[in-house]
């Protein structure tokens, strides 16, 4: 546990200042209430809540998840209560919490992203918006927004122009060159980049010859994807002029440190919350211990210090 040492875990991500770099990832922590008995929200650097859309969405039929070696596939289908219920039912609980709340959002069209941003801009208790661009663009025949730099630019511009809140763009790993979409988001005015979202994957039941997910394809998360995530964060950090949040497969303080060392200013923990709900607290304490053991006082002395031979 933190003792009264002079150690500072504070990080600044452009307009966003966090008391520590440990956030929880969208879709893996509900609206914070679900884990509140075990993880006091105020301990966290920030909390990203489940992605919301303009209208409520019922999501995909089950089965929606499948466990794989070191990972899990999910195809929740973006089930969410929708903007109105979020503002009326969830925000009043979130608002008074002494933790920055980031709202993850997604739309079926560029316009929907813009509308969501505008609607949330006025709300109290929101510290920032995270744009989930790993969603099918209904106008472009279901193609994923996040894989086309032009669409990324449009979506981020639409959000940027409708809000004064800090804007985080969350990149999908399912692209040839993630620095291209990172640049597009940057050019459109994102304040921060976060990566990675899940990697598209699939599993089959060899006995029944049916897909394990009703949706056939789902998103792979968990420790299996950590090497992929870390590589992409490192690539983006090298070309990006805005701060980067790293995530994908983090389950321990060592994992978190790897992302910080390659240059992420903060990290998010997703799937690991399911396995070990106390993991974020352990990481926060572990970062302090790491600094203390090295006689360092500030987490920023670690960030971006990878020694490439």
């Amino acid at each position: 546990m933190a003792n009264d040492s002079p150690i500072s875990l504070t990080v600044e991500l452009g307009p966003l200042r966090l008391k520590n770099p440990v956030m929880v990832a969208s879709g893996t922590f509900g609206y914070g209430q679900e884990y509140a008995e075990l993880v006091p929200p105020e301990r966290l650097g920030a909390m990203v809540v489940k992605g919301i859309s303009l209208e409520p969405r019922s999501g995909n039929p089950p089965p929606r998840i499948w466990e794989t070696c070191g990972g899990m596939l999910n195809a929740i289908g973006l089930q969410n209560v929708g903007l109105r219920a979020f503002v009326e039912e969830k925000l009043p609980w979130l608002n008074p919490l002494p933790v920055p709340v980031i709202v993850n959002l997604f739309g079926n069209t560029v316009e929907e992203y813009g509308k969501l941003a505008a609607a949330l801009d006025g709300q109290e208790g929101i510290a920032g918006l995270e744009i989930n661009i790993s969603c099918p663009n209904v106008k472009a025949g279901g193609m994923i927004f996040g894989s086309d730099p032009k669409m990324v630019f449009q979506v981020v511009s639409a959000v940027r122009s409708r809000t004064n809140l800090p804007v985080i763009t969350k990149l999908t790993p399912n692209v040839t060159d993630i620095t291209v979409t990172a640049r597009a988001a940057q050019d459109a005015g994102t304040d921060i980049l976060s990566l990675i979202n899940t990697v598209a994957g699939m599993a089959v039941d060899a006995q029944t010859r049916q897909p394990r997910l009703a949706n056939v394809v789902g998103g792979l998360s968990g420790p299996a994807i950590k090497p992929i995530a870390l590589r992409m964060v490192w690539q983006v950090v090298q070309v990006s002029t805005v701060p980067v949040i790293g995530l994908g497969g983090i389950v321990s303080v060592e994992d978190a440190l790897e992302f910080l060392i390659v240059g992420a200013k903060a990290i998010q923990v997703g799937t690991a919350n399911f396995i070990n709900p106390g993991v974020t607290l352990e990481i926060i304490d572990g970062l302090e211990d790491y600094l203390r053991q090295r006689n360092l006082e500030d987490i920023n002395e670690i960030i971006g210090t990878l020694e490439v031979p």
């Binding site: 999501g59 089950p62 929606r64 968990g222 399911f274």
Partner: protein, 274 residues
């Protein structure tokens, strides 16, 4: 909701595939209700990655204090690993989770239906009902593939239950599916039970719910789903339920949070048997 390491008191095979595992965890034992469940982390490892959901089978408040038992079936990697654990080892528990069974309101008669490992949560429920002073006649209909599935019957006898056994291969009790015999039996009763509690495979649960609806009996079904978190955070454990008035879209409840026990009438049954 608590997160606790719990020591294993014993982990004994009951039959080829079934194990009794007793654990000590006083503060979970003090609060968990029949039908609620625990998410168990099998070991301090990342493969298998996710926790596994299990019910409390029996509670032993005093022997030693704060201990309870799970009954589990070895079906895959996680339960295989669980079965290799030894007395003195620990597992990590997250719980109590979910909404359990509601106790019968009037002191009427109680019917329980179990299919295979679906027996797991029922002894704790039966004991709780017995302890609550319910005096009505109680019946358990218990079906399995064969006689090896039909465990802890004596315990229900001791609690005053009439136990009706059914096996698919006829190796014990009546031969066939439990739901077939149950329906026949129900139609022959003068007085219908006040409530049906049921736990078992999806097709059985469906039959029970439809039978209960036809006969106008309320049913409480403990349902299963693949689970990521167990606490309502990940939305993976969906069960299709009746949508709120006025909406058309399919409505999915979270088994982990809105259940695992559902009223039979809430559920929209699926053609597939997943």
């Amino acid at each position: 909701m608590l997160l606790r390491n719990a020591k294993i008191l014993f982990n004994n095979p009951v039959s080829l595939e079934l194990y009794h595992m007793a654990l000590v965890c006083p503060d979970i034992a003090a609060t968990i209700q029949p039908g609620q469940f625990l998410m168990v982390r099998i070991q301090d490892r990342l493969d298998p990655l996710l926790r596994r959901p299990f019910a409390v089978h029996r509670l032993y408040p005093n022997d030693p204090p704060g201990s309870f038992e799970m009954l589990y079936k070895v079906v895959g990697r996680g339960t295989q690993l669980l079965s290799n654990m030894l007395a003195g080892d620990s597992v990590n528990l997250l719980g109590p989770l979910g909404r359990g069974f509601r106790l019968p309101e009037e002191k009427g008669s109680v019917l329980m239906v179990a299919g295979g490992i679906g027996i797991a949560p029922l002894p704790y429920l039966a004991e709780t009902i017995a302890a609550s002073g319910c005096k009505g006649p109680s019946v358990l209909w218990f079906g399995g593939k064969n006689s090896a599935d039909l465990v802890c019957v004596q315990h229900f006898n001791d609690l005053g239950f009439t136990v009706q056994l059914v096996t698919e291969d006829g190796s014990e009790g009546r031969k066939g599916l439990v739901t077939g015999h149950l329906e026949q039996w129900l139609t022959q009763q003068n007085e219908l039970p006040g409530v049906i509690y049921s736990c078992g495979p999806y097709p059985m649960q469906r039959s029970v719910a439809e039978m209960a609806a036809r006969l106008g009996i309320s049913s409480q079904l403990s349902m299963e789903a693949l689970m990521g978190c167990g606490v309502g955070a990940c939305l993976s454990c969906s069960l299709r339920c009746r949508p709120p008035e006025g909406t058309q879209e399919p409505h999915y409840a979270n088994v982990c949070q809105d259940g695992p026990v559902f009223d039979g009438e809430e559920i929209v049954w699926d053609e597939s048997s997943s």
